[in-house]
Amino acid sequence: MKNIILHINKAFDHRVRLGIMSILMVNECADFNRLKELLGITDGNLASHIKALEKLEYLLVKKQFIGRKPNTKYYATKLGKVEFKKHINALEKLIRNT
């Protein structure tokens, strides 16, 4: 039991961060507006959670221009994907055990 709890990742303990990672696991990348549309939250809220994930290096930010408009794309890093998988496995074990 203790082992499983060790794998529960505090970084994914929030709905929005969990959501961002879920989207980036199955999509190569996503831009800010797409994440906002899928998660249904405000700009500021999303930005702060993105920053938190970026700080942990679970998320990669690539800025570019489409024509004249700036466009920021987000990718899940290898580390982020591994940690997310661990987290999900732990969740599933916890559910099964109780």
Partner: protein
């Protein structure tokens, strides 16, 4: 007294475990939901499949009537009847596409999904690349007077397009794809019945699968 506290602690731990368990379950279902929503276009309308089947049957009926009532009773490539049949096919395809776009955008509105988003564009791309390649190929060989396998080729390419597109929408669509591929191959083995295989594949299969989709996903 001590025993009471112990029991109390036991129940407190139990209930908190149960509560977090419920939260984890919610987490998992939310993860699944977001993964689906972000990678698949789920507003495809089953009703549009049914309608496509109905159009195909009407179109086939008209083509059959045309050939039966022509002087020769069979098709030649540069005749008036042949051109009418091509037009007939074109109208069936156009009507099916327009109906699909109309019904799908209606359903997308209900699902609060944009009809032109990343997932729908990805779906369309993966559907159209094999379909258009096949369509152009069929037109090329028709121009070379080789039209014996037209029905089989149409079924085959349509099936491949569906299987290819199924990764980006409801998974069940791939079963319709497999059926069309199988039917296409069968039609190639048994020449001369291309018309009837076409009627089964584009008419009846669409109506059957469209109804399944409709009752499974549209009606809620």
């Amino acid at each position: 007294m001590l025993r009471d506290t112990k029991i109390f602690i036991y129940f407190a731990i139990q209930s908190s475990l149960k509560m977090s368990n419920k939260n984890y379950l919610k987490d998992i279902s939310e993860i699944k939901d977001l993964m689906n929503k972000s990678s698949k276009f789920i507003s495809l309308s089953g009703l549009s499949g049914i309608m496509a089947g109905v159009y195909a049957l009407i179109g086939a009926g008209y083509a059959y009537w045309l050939v039966e009532n022509s002087k020769r009773g069979y098709l030649i490539l540069d005749g008036r009847v042949f051109r009418l049949i091509l037009l007939d096919l074109f109208i069936v395809a156009a009507l099916s596409i327009l109906t699909a776009i109309y019904l799908t955008s209606k359903k997308a509105k209900k699902n609060n999904e944009n009809i032109w988003n990343e997932t729908s564009i990805r779906l369309l791309k993966n559907f159209l690349i094999p379909l258009l390649s096949g369509g152009i190929y069929i037109l090329i060989i028709l121009n070379q007077q080789r039209y014996g396998q037209t029905g089989a080729l149409m079924l085959l390419f349509y099936g491949i397009s569906l299987v290819n597109a199924s990764n980006f929408t409801f998974r069940n669509i791939k079963y319709l794809g497999y059926s069309e591929i199988l039917l296409g191959l069968l039609s190639a083995i048994i020449p001369g019945y291309g018309f009837w295989f076409w009627v089964i594949g584009f008419g009846f299969f669409h109506i059957i699968y469209g109804s399944i989709m409709y009752f499974k996903y549209d009606k809620e």
